[in-house]
Amino acid sequence: MVSNVEAGQRPAPAARSLNRQRLMLLVGLAVLLVLPLFVPRYWVFFAGLLGINIVATHGLNIMMGYTGLLSLGHAAFLGVGAYTVALAQAHLGLPFWIAIPLAGVSAAVIGVGFGLPSLRIRGLYLVIATLAAQFILNFVFVHWQAVTNGDVGLTVQPANVFGFLLNTETRVYYLILAVTVLMTIFAANVIDSRVGRAFVAIRERDLTAQVLGVEIVGYKLAAFALGSFYAGVAGGLLAYFNRFVNPEQFGLLLSVFFLSAVIVGGMGSMLGAVLGAVFMTVLPEVLREGALAIGTTLGFDIASILVPLRETVFGLLIVCFLILEPRGLAHLWTRLRQKVLRSG
């Protein structure tokens, strides 16, 4: 106890712990860089998917976790990004480093188009508008045959990084890693700034926020556009990752998936978005393996119930975390760390 009090009075330990944090991050990054050399290909594939999910979860967390803008149409905005990449490549021959930002921008523009009317008012209107976006955009993906090729979808050529084709899991992995790191840093910077504080102020008390000079509609719009931008970039990456785009990938279930990721991880926490994305990316794999194992033992065909099983579990996670631990895994993690530090 005594040493704690003394430590609190000196400014140095805070700086030291910051440095240690940076060091940990650098070590983590180094591990991620060499990862593909040591692990099976399937893991690399998995890590790529994880990166994409982290980017998308950051987006929803900025909107919902920090600013309090619930979106039920996040998957559709990923879809906009994915189709943007596919179309930009097929018709304009744009390289990835233009196509991916473009995916983000087009998702942001379309997102704002849906969100703008309802961002002016509080309440449930935005929820309805985003639900509308989910269904209407998916409808467009399916039925605008001439452009989207309907249910069949579009194929995507590997990204070409200055003559170097990203045609294996490992090569795409590095693109995803770079984008994920950059997007995470950008999000963390925004949150730790005047803008991020304004987001939280709007979520907590919008009247007080106004008194402090926060222009509510403008900041809501910024949060919504930024969140959709992240979804679009994630969708763009997904297009290069899967090398095809079809409407089925961007259904309501995927929106529920990201909703769960944000809630499970902890709304309004950067760490939470990462933890939530990891948890939710691993979960379907665990569910599948578990269900298959049980199925083989009991002699059932479990494969057909995998999708409804996911729906059930995603829903359960949303409900249970909201009721029992609304601050999510991030909070559990912090508490666990404190316990370990105290006992150690």
Binding site: V195, V200, E204, L207, V211, G213
Partner: protein
């Protein structure tokens, strides 16, 4: 500094304010008092821009701001606290206070996200200034990294005051700054408000129930009753005004006796 001229406000048919005028003089503490339902909070909401008065004007530093939106008033130098503490849960004391400086910083979404040098420098300077000056002035240094929801009531009120001050307002509106406080906390808060006037030369306009505090620190007092101004003057003049005693003071003293 701030002048409210002949403001009239009604909701449906109910008149909340009739012909209210208040003048908050520069670098002075002006208090608006009155019993519950006298229209004090309505008056503050007119000044903040949440309500539009049917007639009358609000003038800040020579500029008519009657039709201005609340957030724009902040940019013109108006700051306020709330009767029910309006801090942001889930944020530290430091971050809550930093929010008060929203109008002084300029970093937008992209500048902040990329941590452009201009945005970073502003944030760093603000961080230093708050740690060095504001936290010290309001004796909050020891809790600056705590989450606001973990603090005692009196401390939370002080954080709110700190947040309102970081804006460097021309005029500071305090909505019942000592409501719900114990005697010790009240005395501290009164001292801080006087400090704000004397050390920062800020103009203060406050509404308050607590007569002791108002009489002790105000330079000028306006009394409202049922939405109408019934008296105005220095604390000693108000203390002697028979109408005020009838409308307000008697009742208030009985109440505080009963509470004690």
């Amino acid at each position: 500094m701030l002048t409210v001229e002949n403001v009239q406000l009604s909701f449906g048919g109910v008149k909340a304010l009739t012909g209210v005028s208040v003048d908050a003089a520069t670098s002075k503490i002006t208090a608006v008092i009155g019993p519950n339902g006298a229209g004090k909070t309505s008056l503050f909401n007119v000044i903040s821009g949440f309500y539009k008065p049917q007639t009358g004007r609000v003038v800040l530093d020579g500029e008519d701001i009657t039709a201005m939106k609340p957030h724009t008033r902040a940019y013109r130098g108006m700051s306020r606290t709330f009767q029910n503490i309006a801090l942001f849960a889930g944020m530290t004391v430091l971050d809550n206070v930093k929010l008060g400086a929203h109008t002084r910083l300029t970093g937008g979404l992209i500048a902040s996200g990329l941590r452009l040098p201009s945005a970073r420098r502003q944030e760093e300077e603000l961080d230093h200034e708050i740690r060095r000056n504001v936290m010290g002035l309001l004796e909050l240094d020891h809790v600056q990294d705590s989450y606001v929801e973990d603090l005692a009531y009196g401390l939370q009120k002080r954080v709110e005051l700190a947040r309102a001050l970081v804006m460097r307002p021309k005029i500071l509106l305090l909505d019942e700054p000592v409501a719900g406080m114990n005697r010790e906390e009240k005395r501290e808060m009164s001292r801080f408000v006087v400090d704000v006037r004397d050390r920062l030369n800020t103009t203060v306009l406050l509404i308050e129930h607590d007569m002791g505090m108002v009489m002790g620190i105000s330079d000028h007092i306006v009394v409202l009753s049922f939405g109408k101004p019934i008296a105005s003057g220095t604390p000693s003049e108000i203390g002697k005004n028979p109408e005020v005693i009838k409308a307000y003071l008697g009742g208030a003293e009985e109440r505080s006796d009963a509470a004690a």
